[in-house]
Subunit: 208 residues, 4 copies
């Protein structure tokens, strides 16, 4: 049996049980979404935010990409997927909070930390290399202080969340609303192995 | 209570129940991920793929952005988030299937269909406008045949999935593996209102 | 919502739960059926034999018609649905037992008992009148002894099971196998109100 | 243990669990049935409609015979079991929908398709041969187009449902109600092997 067939079987379970139990909810949702929170999480198969936060359909607008990264504001042309999603969530859906969710054992962060993809070409790591270039500055700082081992990995996972938050602040439609108290930017890191969630409080991360 | 606080409460529930029940599974997952499937879904709060397909942690590598779009291969510099995610999934994780999951009542598709964001500037719809420019050609074809009403919306939601699949085939590392039978590209559309899942079979969509 | 839609929702439940749990069983069943028992039951919505006997897919071959009746063997042309089903079950599937399941509060039996459909024309009770003509002889005997009230109803429900068994014995392919000990004919009556099952033991019915 | 004994054990389970849980429901049902739907299904042991549609006691009036066939209206004398059941359901119980449920791997359909029972005598396939004569015309059409292999089998299973629906329309008490919008005739085919349900929508069957 192929994997897609497994997904279809999963769909039948969902359609035959949960969907039916919340039928009215789904009918309402068909009319439109009005989430109050946006989450930016990693594509990693182990860190589904709806699982980790126990959310329900309609509650969170979600972007997922490698290493939960937000690029800085760039006004040139081109396809800016994350910028489009943030703009839609903030200016159209008017979400009140954006949570950047990092995680332990992140492959993208590890590649940034160790330089394992240096000199890779497009099609064999090069696109990932370009993308995690967003972490270059943070990486240098972390390596100088913590090295490239487990301690460096954890530090860069946290720093990566700070980078995405800082980059969000370069979008005027974000910084204006944050300054006006209409939007809050949050950070957290989920540490797969022991299931701990560390939350950004001011300058530092602490267990939830 | 703020919305982020709700998420933290949800995390405590997850940590206190599901995480504990599958503690061994999480310990294994901490060592690494090996998903066989990648899903590209919309950021829309109503279409969480792990809910719709009933998947478990570790099973699917997920990208979510506005309108579940994949841009064509562009080898210039810049931050190509979707390209990086696909490259990582295909060349590093060696997933065997990539599923593009569209959905009913998609706001991004609707903006493309109706031109409601035309002339928008960055910060007020302009980033979304640039992004859904990926649908321009498909939009013209759909509008000519189905108009800009509900029928056009449904047609463009399906066409949008086809566009992402076609764009994926412009990446050499994808087309080579598809041609060699090592990778399959799938499409599906989840129609929130009645819970139906339509699956791309050859040229057309049919109920699962 | 129409009733057929309810059935479809029920199908989704079945497909998403029970079908999946017994997936291997269904794969085996697709290759062919080999039930050991045939049941002849009433079309009445209250007496589903798989519910009453807790049977699983593949276990019982089932005929359902008004008043669980078997006509006598008629070798002229025409569409003999019950005869075809019995012939298929006995000579092709080689079932080892045939159970006639009557039930309390049977509308067909009541019409036979009270003559409420006498003189009805086809399209307004006439087809039912013809069909329950199979009970004419039994009815006369029961009414003479028990009248047309509740006692007569219960007596005719039991007699109806005996009629079907007697008619089955007019089919040579049945009587031969019964005489050879290869086939057993059974009778039972399910009394909806108190949930009792009365079973034919020799000449008389007794609680299971 | 004999097979009938298994049924009796199953009855005890039913009586000791489900019946008790819904005791009030059964008390109500003892007063009379008022189903809104009639189902015409095959006698095949694998396609119990209450299982496939997840229905409860009192909900559906059920006819089961070989290949879920309805003969055309015949006003001559004789025992017309299916006609009696339809007449009772439509004119007495006033059901609003009649569903013809076909299924995959149907032995009756296969015999019609392949002519495997041709020249059979009563008692050794002849009754079945007469009965599936109802499919002669449909069979010729299907064989010409699809042959007698798996494709022909699936086509005739679907065509068989259409034949039963067409034959129902030859009963004036049916066609009048259908024309007046008081009765709907539905068709579906359950494909045992993969658990898919195909539903007749207008002229063609599509997945539910």
């Amino acid at each position: 049996m192929s994997n897609f067939e497994n997904l279809i079987e999963g769909y039948y379970r969902f359609r035959g049980t949960e969907w039916q139990k919340e039928r009215e909810r789904w009918t309402e949702l068909a009319a439109g979404q009005s989430p109050k929170v946006m989450i930016i999480a990693c594509s990693d198969s182990r860190v589904d935010p709806s699982t980790i936060f126990g959310t329900h359909p309609g509650e969170v607008f979600v972007v997922r990409n490698v290493a939960n990264l937000v690029p800085p504001c760039e006004n040139g042309g081109g396809y800016h997927g994350v910028s489009a999603a943030i703009e839609f969530a903030v200016t159209k859906l008017k979400v009140e909070e954006i949570v950047v969710l990092g995680h332990g054992a992140c492959g993208g962060v590890n590649a940034a930390l160790t330089g394992s993809l240096a000199d890779s070409v497009h099609g064999d790591g090069g696109f990932v290399l370009d993308w995690i270039g967003l972490l270059d500055e943070a990486r240098d700082k972390v390596v100088a202080e913590h090295g490239t081992g487990p301690e460096g990995q954890r530090a860069l996972e946290e720093e990566c969340v700070r980078v995405s938050i800082a980059n969000m602040m370069t979008f005027p439609f974000i910084s204006e609303r944050v300054d006006a108290g209409k939007l809050k930017l949050r950070g957290a890191v989920f540490a797969i192995a022991d299931g701990k969630l560390r939350v950004l409080e001011g300058e530092r991360f602490a267990n939830a």
